[in-house]
Amino acid sequence: MNISMFDILGPVMIGPSSSHTAGAQRIGKAMYMISGKEEISSVKFYLHGSFSHTLSGHGTDRALVAGLMGMDASDERIRNSLEIAKERGIQVSFEPQDLGDVHPNTVKIIAVTKSGKEYSMIGSSVGGGEVEIVEINGTKAKSSGKYPTIIVTHIDRLGVISKISSILAHHEVNIVTMSNSREKKGSTAITMIEADHSIPAEVKEQLEELDYIKNVVIIEKFA
């Protein structure tokens, strides 16, 4: 395992807590990416464990909302993000919820865009500002945000994954990690791919043309 010196001298962040503030901002930012950076009209945060306990005391609420609006961990506007969201007409609510057997710093986010699309996501802040997205739109996922990620929602059918990887190879996208999960055999599945370098837009178009593909989301690196 090789760790960057800037993970040790970092993140550069608005305090006070790397896991409750910087990590929360990154999880919010993940939702910003998943919802295609569209303007959000309403968002609900369901907070689990210590996320709900120290919510306002560590600025977790402001950091989540700031990330959702695309702000970075070092953005001084995080402090006023709740007011900024209000000005932009985003309805925000927070609720404690037991999300089951998950990391103590976990939040479930349900966001509705101005165009009426609904997205959901569960993310955990696992320490030092590092995060893990564990569920997207109801299906299990695994992304740290350290690499550009492609999330393909598709029907679980033989050969789909090999077609996805051959399109990636064609565009010289080098795969760092690849994971696949499905609700049950033959049902909806999600394939997540973390890539070395940023992913060209044509990849999305070509993947969407494949059979059995329901939806393709490309997330830029957010951590």
Binding site: M5, F6, S18, D61
Partner: protein, 304 residues
């Protein structure tokens, strides 16, 4: 690449290189960056650290909970009276660390080093020592790189999370990093840097994480101050030729095992230590009300 101090020292061998040289070479390879780009990143981070170490000296910086603040200014004012017992470098380092820690608690901009809770120790120590030595900017950045190398080794072999290893893992790691940084700045050998780092960690072995109300304020701010004194002490010991006897790598292993042995009540849950003293609990109630929700039930799950 190196996994521990032993490997890093072996990479140095008799090349005459410093810890910083090896750490920067590793970074250039890992992040595909030029040396200039790495140094620029270090400078960017140093500038933020410097500002955070000074913003709380002339004016009182108060935390968002309203629980703590103003100690950076109190210490700075006290230094001006000339009545402090420690030498000027240590006193200033303490004031810088308090300021940085308070800027963090007020939702200001900081650099986690290695965490936000312990963010004052490394910059506070380094800035004060560099002032005394009149170090060049290049040498200051190289000292930061050495500190990062020590932090990398602790992260690889143990943890720097209070929730996992207690405060020894956060403020202990930060003091180890700071001790190595200033030992390099003082002209110590790479081996001496690791002696200083080892002793600093041993000095706080077993330190628990017990934040009042679960907030990174009490005891965190003062532990940032004490981390500065610890780091400067250990640099002096190492420069005097005193060794740790127990090598750095073994100290890190021991710290990890001690962290695992700590009950969860003493690992950031705010269920033990000073957090559950009558005064600690009363302060918690003052901020959050009885359930931990500030009276706004839709905002919190503390009472459910």
């Amino acid at each position: 690449m190196y996994h521990n101090a032993k490997e890093l020292l072996a990479l140095i061998g008799d090349s005459g290189k410093s810890i910083a040289d090896i750490v920067i070479e590793n970074e250039m390879e890992l992040s595909e960056m030029s040396r200039e780009a790495v140094m620029e990143q270090l400078q960017y981070r140093y500038d933020i650290m410097y500002k955070a170490c000074h913003d709380g000296l002339e004016k009182e910086v108060i935390s968002i909970s309203g629980l703590t603040g103003g100690t950076g200014k109190q210490m700075w004012d006290f230094i001006q009276t000339g009545k402090g017992l420690q030498d000027m470098t240590t006193q200033k380092g303490i004031a810088y660390a308090l300021s940085c820690s308070e800027v963090n608690a007020s939702m200001g901009l900081i650099v986690a080093a290695p965490t936000a809770g312990a963010c004052g120790i490394l910059p506070g120590t380094l800035i004060a020592v560099a002032e005394k030595l009149e170090s060049s900017q290049e040498d200051i950045l190289l000292a930061l790189a050495a500190a990062a190398g020590v932090g990398q080794i602790i992260t690889k072999n143990a943890t720097v999370s209070g929730a996992e290893g207690g405060c020894q893992a956060e403020c202990g790691a930060a003091a180890s990093m700071a001790a190595a940084a200033i030992t390099q700045l003082c002209g110590g050998t790479p081996a001496q840097c690791f002696e200083a780092a080892a002793i600093a960690m041993k000095n706080v072995m077993g330190l628990v994480c017990d934040p009042v109300a679960g907030l990174v304020e009490m005891p965190c701010t003062k532990r940032n101050a004490s981390g500065v004194t610890n780091a400067i002490l250990c640099c002096d010991l190492a420069m005097a030729g005193i060794t740790s006897h127990i090598p750095f790598d073994e100290v890190v292993d021991a710290m990890f095992r001690v962290g695992k042995a700590l009950p969860s009540t003493l690992r950031e849950t705010a269920l033990g230590g000073i957090a559950v003293t009558p005064t600690g609990l009363a302060l918690k109630e003052k901020i959050f009300g009885t359930g931990g929700c500030g009276g706004n039930c839709s905002a919190c799950g503390g009472c459910q």
